[in-house]
Symmetry: C2
Subunit: 394 residues, 2 copies
């Protein structure tokens, strides 16, 4: 009979998707050029030319039955090795090919972590603001999402974290650079996080897995280098997607990288594989696995996003808005001049500005602006933001 | 903490994969030409040329951010419409675009059916012999798989079905043409199945969903046309994959088609969408969605499989083996001349013949031969089968 959680998840649209749908309707009504749509985090720069060139080359050189054939569930051995070597070289990350599980994007990886490493009745902790789907994945596995409010600068509030950890805590999820805030977890924060989790493991006598969701790892500005979580805590898993760095969000390809130092690494890996299997995953798309192997280490032209960030942050700050300075990702998190983020998002609509209210990210009082948009739209939007500021008495 | 079912599913290899792994090792030892590997159902004929041609054309004409961008979760609207129109035209199937959910292959679709339409503690019924992953998907959703043994000709035993249905029955899964037997469900069988399920719905006062797993729908021989399940029962869902018909098993693309006549069609659809969402599915691969839209209705050169079937069936029957005549798919189901299928499979290995024992398909005493292999391998294997037959006293 209908599973009521599934029904609810299928019926509920995320606030992001709802606003984007409103945007599509509004563009049809008044012209796309008159709507300033900051709703969706869909990369606006093309994939690097090597992606399509690799596709063409593969079509020339590989046999059809190989190119489009099944791969092992965890991915092509050569790709798993290449990913591990890349992580070793760039991040000095303690991972090997045996710990790499190639999956259908970060969402599939996170869902496998929840389903494989958390039992019904257990808890996962996320730090607000967080990507709303975390709740669906955790509850989908029969767990409870426990949220920890942020401290100054939107780094985690560690006193609150210590309160939040219980004997039921199985997973802790971080997201750096962060969607929706663009904040990168500092080395100081990760050091403290590692200390607290090790102490909690000791206290409760079981592993607490730290899952670091990092689809924006390469989208960082001003020379910021996001510290690699695996250096701060051993029982950790990187969850990565090529969606943003290579502008391939629809192709659904990414990986999980289980730390070599993870307690019971092989069992953890098997549980992830089994969770993916029971969810109907067979292998990540085979053609795209081969493309990724040829394009590892490349990125789209990310300087476009930096330029957009600077324009938007400078412009909005000059208008009197209070914005979180984003070190990475392509989101700007702006404090609402009125207490209710939804009311502020509605107010912005009057000026044809589509800003996502922060409530679904686990934190009230902000809006998220996705600035993976044409630069000229940002320039043209400033008059509308000016009118919005004036309407709030800024 | 580690979820023990996930751990078990991640650790257990299917007997198919184990035999294939043995085959790879053995080929390395004695040369690929000396191993007769009938273990895996990986298409042996290339995708039709239109697949790669469509890929090339899309790379020429579509913008990168569109081509590789997110699509709606249920698939591109144009593809959903095209699939519905194709099903209307070819099968006169009562489906519309609103009932089509494009998914990452049949496995993803079946897993969504189990997770969306069956609550923990409920039951799903499958007819032996059945594809072993059904058990993983059903148990993964917290349900119990109830199996019904076959009657004459491997059609369902309907008396046994009537015994198996309880008030907990939420799903009934059929697979036509069948993996591992190649048997196509007859119109008479489907008529009887529909009658029984309607009576059970009446008796228990709730919907029982019939899910028809049909990745081999186009792989039929001798003019056999598999009757469309949607004509025999209203509360039914087709689960399809392009893996076999277009030789694209690694690309993970297929669809669910919910009957227009399904009780509460929109709720069922939402529950499927929510189940997929909670499992981390975002959309089926975007590039491949566009390829499929251009290649609907095409197939690989399936006559190769017919030729293989004829060779193998004729050859083995002449040697005295008792085989189920396959109307479709690319599997031959052969009765073992000794009671224990695993022992027979081990015996066959002595002759370098890799035959999958049937126990994991829910039925003892048979082996499955995947004949999606080079024709010359079948020809050369006959001497080995002859020796195997002799060793069994045939």
């Amino acid at each position: 009979m209908l599973q009521k959680n599934s029904l609810a998840w299928g019926r509920s649209k995320s606030c992001i998707r709802e606003l984007a749908a409103y945007g599509a309707k509004r563009k049809a009504e008044i012209g796309a050029e008159n709507v300033f749509d900051f709703s969706i985090g869909n990369p606006s720069v093309p994939a690097p030319p090597e992606v399509d060139a690799s596709l063409r080359a593969l079509l020339e050189t590989e046999e059809s039955v190989t190119l489009h054939g099944y791969t092992p569930a965890a991915g092509l051995p050569s790709l798993r090795t290449a990913i591990a070597v890349d992580l070793n070289a760039r991040l000095d990350a303690p991972v090997s090919a045996e710990g790499i599980y190639v999956c259908c994007g970060a969402a599939a990886g996170l869902a496998a972590c929840c389903r494989g490493l958390l039992c019904p009745g257990e808890e996962a902790i996320a730090f607000a603001p967080f990507f709303p789907e975390y709740r669906v994945f955790v509850e989908g596995a029969g767990g409870t999402l426990v949220t920890v409010p942020p401290a100054e600068g939107l780094q985690p509030d560690f006193d609150a974290l210590e309160q939040a950890i219980t004997e039921k805590t199985a997973l802790v999820i971080v997201n750096t650079p962060n969607n929706p805030s663009g904040v990168v977890l500092s080395a100081a924060s990760l050091t403290r996080l590692g200390e607290i989790l090790r102490a909690a493991e000791e206290r409760f006598g079981h592993t607490i897995c730290l899952v670091s969701d990092e689809p924006y790892r390469e989208l960082v500005y001003d020379g910021t280098l996001p510290p690699c979580v695996l250096h701060f805590y051993d029982d950790a898993i990187l969850c990565y997607s090529f969606s943003k760095s290579l502008s391939l969000p629809g192709e659904r390809i990414g990986y999980l990288a289980v730390s070599e130092r993870m307690t019971g690494r092989d069992e953890v890996f098997a549980a992830l594989a089994g969770a993916a299997r029971a969810s109907g995953y067979v292998n990540a798309p085979s053609l795209m696995q081969r493309v990724i192997e040829r394009c590892l280490g490349l990125t789209s032209n990310l300087s476009v996003y930096k330029n957009n960030r600077d324009l938007l942050y400078t412009g909005l700050t000059a208008l009197g808005f209070d914005c979180v300075y984003p070190d990475g990702a392509f989101y700007l998190f702006m404090k609402c001049p009125e207490p209710d983020a939804k009311a502020f998002s509605e107010r912005a609509k009057q000026f044809e500005l589509l800003l996502v209210p922060s409530d679904d990210f686990g934190l009230g009082g902000y809006v998220r602006l996705a600035y993976c948009v044409p630069e000229e739209m940002i320039r043209r939007s400033m008059a509308a933001f000016g009118a919005l500021a004036a309407s709030c008495g800024l």
